[in-house]
Amino acid sequence: MIFRRYNTSVLAVVALGLLLIYYYIRQPLILSPFGAKILANQGTTLALAALAQLVVVLTGGVDLSVGAVVSLSNCIAATYMGSHPASVIAVCVLTLAVGAGAGLLNGVLVAYGRIQPIIVTLATLYIFSGLALMVRPQPGGLVPPFYANALTGGWGYLPYALVALFVVLFAVWTPLMRSRLGTAIRAVGDNPGGAHMSGINVPRTLILAYVMGGVFAAAAGLYLTAQTTSGDAAIGTSYTLNSVAAVVFGGALLGGGRGVAPGPVIAAYFLSIIISVLFAAGISPFYQSVFQGGILMVVLVFGNLWTLRTRNWLTILKN
C-alpha cells in the first residue's frame, strides 16, 4: 500500500512524542504559548536543513555542503538585509538564489564531473564556507525586528515558525515531489541505470535535486538569521551532520530511493529539542554530546529491531 511509504516516519513521531512528554513532566511550562514558540523555533532551521539533505539523499548522494550554505545565506542576509521591507524581501530572494547557485554547482559537478557526491560537496563545503567568511569576517550584521518577529513570533499556541514550515512543506516540497521530477528523483536514487533505460534524463534530475537542496539550505539560513538576528560565518557547521542524522532517523535510506518528508522534519525537531531536555534533566553540558549520541543510537537500533523479525534474511540484507 502506498501509505506504507510513511511507515518509515513512525519511529521519529514516537520518539518526539515520548521526548515531549518527558520534557513536560520535567518542565510543565513548555505547555504554554511561550513554550510552544520556543520548541518550534528551536527545530525549524534543522528541519529545513533536513529537507535540503533529504532531496539529495533521495538521489543516492549526500550533501556535506548543507551547513556551509546555511552559514553563507545567514551571512548574506544579516549583512545586506537593511531595515526597509522592500530590501528585506529583495535580499531574501537573493539569498535563495545564491542557495540555488550553490546547489547548481554541486549538481553539475556530480552529474557531469563523474565525481562522488561526498567528494564534490566536501570541496564545495570549503568554498561556500570561505565565501561566507568573505561576506562577513566577523560575526554581526543588522536584522530588523519585524523580520525576526515574523518568523519567530507566535499567535497564541500557534508559532509562526510552524506556519512557515507548513507553507514550505505544502506549497513547495509536496508539489515538487508529486511532480514528474519527484518520481524521477526517487527513481534515480533507486536504480540509476534503470532510470536511464526508462528514458529519464538522469543528469538533469540530479542537477535539479541539488538545486532544490541548495534552496532549502538557504531557507534554513534565512530562518536561522531571524532566530539569531546576526550573521556568523561559522554558525552553520553543525547542520551538515545533524541534517544527515535527521534524514536517517526520519527513515530515509542513505543509498537513495526511499524517504518521505515528515520523518526527517520531525526527527530534526527531536534532535534540536533533546539538547534542552538534557539540560532540563540536569545533565552537565560536558556529557551532553555523549547522551545525545547514545540516545540517537538506542532509538535507531530499537527502531530497526522490527526488521529482524522478518523471516527471510535476504530481505533484511537487501534493505
Binding site: 518520481t183 532510470a195 526508462s198 528514458g199 534474511w313
Partner: protein, 515 residues
C-alpha cells in the same frame, strides 16, 4: 487501431551493424529486418550478439557502423528516451525497475499522467494501470504495492506493462518472460497477437524454444555476431534451428542418469516442515547420488522450500536430519557449514558480487582454506581457482576479469564453482538454467549428473519440465505450499509431470490453456 505509416517496407531494417567492445567483436556486419505487424524471434547462443543488437535498437548504445531504417527513414537512436519517443519500447533482461516505487509508478515512470496543476495523478495512473492489467487478464497485481514486495515473476510482468504503457510501434522483449509461468506466457502472447493485428511489431528473445515455436511468425538466428538466416516459424524444425544456432548438429538428449545404488546413504530428511511465507507440512528425503526434482506451477512454494533448506527463514517448524543426525538450519552460514549449497534464483544479486573478479567470486565461500596465519595465500587461491575454471570449462579471459563481464551461463558456472569449492554434499538448484543458452544448458545438465555420480545429493527446482523429466530420479510436485505428489521411475515424463502440476488425473494429458 491502425497507424499512419511511411511506406510499406519493413518497420525496422538494420544493415551491416558492427559493434565491438575492447577487442571483442559483438556484432559483425549484422543484418536484421522486422516487418510491420509481426512477432519476430531473435535466436542465438549466448554471445551471439542478440542483446547487443537490442541495446542498439533501444538507444542504450550506438553502433560503430551500419545503418538503421525505422518506418522508412534512416535513424539513429541516441538514447533510451530518444528510442522511446520514436516508438521503440524495450523489456530489458536486467530489470530496469525501482524497488521503492509502487507498481503504478514503475509502469508510468517518465510519462506519468498529470493533473491540470502538473502533479502526477495517482488516480489516473492507477486506473490506466488496471486497464492494462485487464488486457492481460492479470487480476492479482495491486498498482499501489511497492515493487520490493513483488515476486520475480510479477516484477517481470510490471516490466512488460511498463513497455506496453508507452503504446510502442516496436516492442522488444529481451528474455522478458524467463520468470513467467506457462499461463502468463500464453496470455502475454495472446495480447501480443492483438497488438500485432493493430500494426505493432514485436521482437522477442527467449531461450525457451518451445515457447518461441508456437507463437512467433518468423525467426532470425544469430551466430558469432552475424545473422545466419531468417526463417518462417511454421516450416522449420527444432533440430534445424539448434543447428543454425550452434553451427553443428546437437542432439537434445540429457546425460545418462546414473542408477541409484540400493544402499545409497540417506543425506537429508525433512519431516513436517512448515513456515516461511507459505510452506506447509513438507516432508522429503534425499539420498546420496540422487537428483530430486521439485515441480509444480509457478510460485507454489518451491523457491521458499529451497531457501528454507538453506537456512534463509527463521522459525520453521518440523524436523530436519542431515546424515541421520538432527540439524537446525537457522542461518545460511550454518547451512553452509552443514554441507548445503544453494545456487540461487537471481545470480546477479544473490549468487555473485558482480564488480568483483572471477577469482574472488569463486574463492569467496572458502577463503580460510587458502589462508596461512589469517592471511590469504594468493598463490594457493589462484591454483585452486584455475582448477575450478578448467573443471567447469568457464570461459574467461583472465581470472581477474570482473564477474559482470561474463555471459549469463558463465556467471552461473561461477556460482556453482564457489559452492563446489566448499565441498558441499547437498546442492540446491533454483531454476539454474534461466536465461542461459542451449549449449551451456547442456553443460549444466552434465554438471548436475556429475554431482550425483560423485554421490552428492541434488535438489532441482526448474520451470522447464523437460529438465525435470530428463535429469531427475524422483520428482516431487508442490501445490500451494504442500507436497502433493511424488513421481518415480517410469512416471517421470513431461506429460505426467505437467499433469500432476496442473492437478490433473494420472497420466492424463494436460489441458492446454487456450491462448
Amino acid at each position: 487501431m491502425t497507424r499512419d505509416t511511411n511506406g510499406t517496407g519493413p518497420l525496422l531494417d538494420a544493415r551491416a551493424i558492427t559493434k565491438s567492445f575492447g577487442g571483442v567483436q559483438a556484432l559483425n556486419a549484422a543484418d536484421f529486418a522486422c516487418d510491420r505487424g509481426e512477432i519476430h524471434a531473435l535466436l542465438g547462443a549466448n554471445g551471439a550478439g542478440k542483446s547487443t543488437l537490442v541495446k542498439i535498437f533501444s538507444g542504450v548504445m550506438a553502433p560503430d557502423s551500419g545503418t538503421i531504417t525505422f518506418d522508412g527513414q534512416e535513424v539513429t537512436f541516441t538514447s533510451p528516451a530518444d528510442a522511446g519517443a520514436k516508438g521503440v519500447a524495450t523489456v530489458f533482461q536486467e530489470l530496469s525497475l525501482f524497488a521503492h516505487l509502487t507498481v503504478a509508478e514503475n509502469i508510468f515512470i517518465g510519462h506519468e499522467p498529470l493533473t491540470r496543476l502538473g502533479q502526477v495523478s495517482g488516480r489516473r495512473m492507477r486506473a490506466t494501470a488496471r486497464a492494462l492489467f485487464d488486457r492481460l487478464g492479470i487480476d492479482h497485481l495491486n498498482p499501489d504495492a511497492l515493487l520490493s514486495d513483488l515476486s520475480l515473476a510479477d516484477r517481470q510482468l510490471v516490466e512488460i506493462f511498463k513497455a506496453l504503457s508507452r503504446d510502442p510501434r516496436l516492442l522488444i522483449l529481451d528474455e522478458g518472460t524467463s520468470a513467467l509461468g506457462r499461463t502468463e506466457v500464453e496470455r502475454l502472447f495472446a495480447l501480443l497477437r492483438k497488438l500485432k493485428s493493430g500494426g505493432t511489431s514485436v521482437v522477442f528473445i527467449s531461450h525457451r524454444m518451445a515457447e518461441i515455436r508456437e507463437f512467433v511468425d518468423r525467426m532470425s538466428v544469430f551466430r558469432n555476431g552475424a545473422l545466419v538466416g531468417t526463417v518462417a516459424a511454421a516450416n522449420c524444425s527444432d533440430e534445424e534451428i539448434v543447428e543454425m544456432m550452434l553451427g553443428q548438429r546437437v542432439d537434445k538428449s540429457f546425460p545418462e542418469r546414473s542408477p541409484l545404488p540400493a544402499a545409497a546413504p540417506m543425506l537429508l530428511e525433512v519431516e513436517g516442515m512448515s513456515g516461511g511465507s507459505r510452506l506447509r507440512d513438507i516432508s522429503l528425503q534425499l539420498r546420496g547420488g540422487e537428483v530430486l526434482g521439485i515441480a509444480g506451477l509457478e510460485g507454489q512454494g518451491q523457491g521458499e522450500l529451497l531457501l528454507a533448506l538453506f537456512g534463509a527463514y527463521r522459525r520453521l517448524s518440523g524436523r530436519v536430519m542431515l546424515h541421520g543426525k538432527p540439524a537446525k538450519l537457522s542461518k545460511p552460514w550454518i547451512a553452509k557449514r552443514a554441507g548445503i549449497a544453494l545456487i540461487p534464483e537471481d545470480r546477479k544479486t544473490e549468487g555473485l558480487v558482480l564488480p568483483m573478479s572471477v577469482r574472488e567470486n569463486i574463492s569467496m565461500a572458502t577463503l580460510p582454506a587458502y589462508g596461512r596465519f589469517g592471511f590469504v595465500s594468493l598463490k594457493r587461491e589462484r591454483r585452486f581457482v584455475a582448477q575450478m575454471i578448467e573443471r567447469l570449462e568457464i570461459k574467461v579471459g583472465s581470472m581477474e576479469q570482473p564477474a559482470r563481464a561474463l555471459s549469463g551461463g558463465n556467471q552461473q558456472k561461477l556460482v556453482l564453482a564457489k559452492w563446489l569449492a566448499t565441498g558441499a554434499e547437498v546442492f540446491l538448484f533454483y531454476d539454474p538454467t534461466r536465461g542461459i543458452d542451449v549449449g551451456t544448458k547442456r553443460a549444466f545438465y552434465e554438471l548436475i549428473a556429475g554431482l550425483a555420480r560423485e554421490g552428492r545429493g541434488v535438489i532441482v527446482y526448474t520451470t522447464e519440465t523437460s529438465e525435470l523429466a530428463g535429469l531427475c530420479h524422483r520428482v516431487l510436485v508442490m501445490d500451494d505450499g504442500r507436497m502433493v505428489r511424488s513421481l518415480e521411475g517410469d512416471e517421470i515424463t513431461e506429460p505426467k509431470i505437467l499433469a500432476a502440476s496442473f492437478g490433473l488425473g494420472d497420466g492424463a494429458k494436460p489441458e492446454k490453456v487456450p491462448a
